[in-house]
């Protein structure tokens, strides 16, 4: 099972899948520990999302 399939099954990627092909490729490059971390903390992955959007989020 791919990372994306695991994340879909766990509800981390919502249905219908809003992520871009690039995001899905990046998720499939994560290690199993990183995927477990996403699942165990119940992060919801939303999209479409550009990395630049994260700039200036915090303080």
């Amino acid at each position: 099972m791919t990372n994306v399939e695991q994340l879909l099954q766990a509800g981390i990627i919502p249905s219908p899948n809003p992520l871009t092909p690039e995001q899905l490729e990046a998720l499939n490059a994560l290690t199993s520990v990183e995927v477990d971390a996403l699942i165990s903390i119940h992060i919801k992955l939303v999209g479409p999302f550009k990395p630049i959007d994260f700039v200036g989020t915090c303080f």
Binding site: A26, T31, D36, L45, P51, F54, C58
Partner: protein, 257 residues
């Protein structure tokens, strides 16, 4: 996905993929139509983070010292963590000064408990640094040191009707953190990480993203309750709130110089 990415590129790319919800919540705070009214609550939340993150970083540095004799990565991390903890020291005073400028006494800050999201955010880093490996805090740093630009903050002050003097914490970080981010990436890219060490760092970053999203939700929820006197007994009120004469008094003293 290219595997020739540097450590910092890989970490930041993973944070970016997972930060969609965090970005949405943060955006709701930064662009809130009543940002001027919400801002003291936001500063209170930031105070909770800043007052606890410096000792947490210091603890991670001490843990790296403890492991250094038998752990190459810990010996490489220790100097950076000590320097970074020192760089962050005393910034909580900036927050208190900003709140004081707005008429909020520091006793009001001290009398409140921090958000549970803040204790989870910082507490998880204490745990990871002590019981897993201090490399974990690099994931935390990569997420939280991500400031707005000075230009954005200046525009925000005008839009929200806030005196720029009350934004010293944010403005100073917007300048300082640019340097910190460059230092961080340089240090991280010089490390030779095993897959396990990298996993610890990334998992910590993912944890930070999640608790930071909860932090912004807490800011919004606490502010939304501030209009209800019954629900908001311990939430900040505007200095003009009649029932809080002490707040008004402090505001009056500030205004008269």
């Amino acid at each position: 996905m290219p595997e020739n990415r540097t450590n910092s590129q890989r970490l930041r790319a993973t944070i970016a993929i997972t930060s969609g919800k965090l970005s949405e919540r943060a955006h709701e705070v930064w662009t809130h139509p009543q940002f001027g009214e919400l801002y003291p609550e936001f500063l209170f939340a930031i105070y909770g983070m800043i007052i606890s993150s410096t000792p947490m970083l210091h603890q991670a540095a001490l843990e790296a010292d403890r492991l250094a004799a038998s752990d190459t990565l810990a010996s490489q991390l220790a100097p950076y963590l000590h320097i970074h903890a020192k760089e962050e020291q005393g910034h909580e005073q900036w927050v208190l000064n900003d709140l004081s400028f707005l008429g909020f006494d520091r006793e009001q800050v001290f009398s409140r408990l921090p958000y549970t999201s803040v204790s989870a955010l910082i507490g998880s880093q204490y745990y990871l640094a002590r019981h897993v490996h201090p490399v974990a805090v690099l994931g935390y740093i990569a997420v939280v040191e991500n400031p707005k630009t000075p230009e954005y903050l200046e525009e925000l002050a005008v839009r929200a009707g806030l005196p720029i003097e009350s934004m010293s914490t944010l403005l100073k970080h917007s300048h300082l953190d640019k340097v910190h981010v460059a230092d961080f990436d340089r240090m991280l890219d010089a490390l030779s990480l095993t897959t396990r060490q990298r996993d610890i760092m990334t998992a910590s970053g993912i944890t930070t993203v999640s608790y930071l999203e909860a932090f912004f939700v807490d800011v919004l929820e606490h502010f939304s309750r501030s209009a209800d006197r019954h629900l908001s007994a311990r939430i900040f009120h505007r200095a003009a709130t009649p029932s809080l004469s002490a707040v008004s008094e402090v505001a009056g003293r500030s205004a008269s110089g």
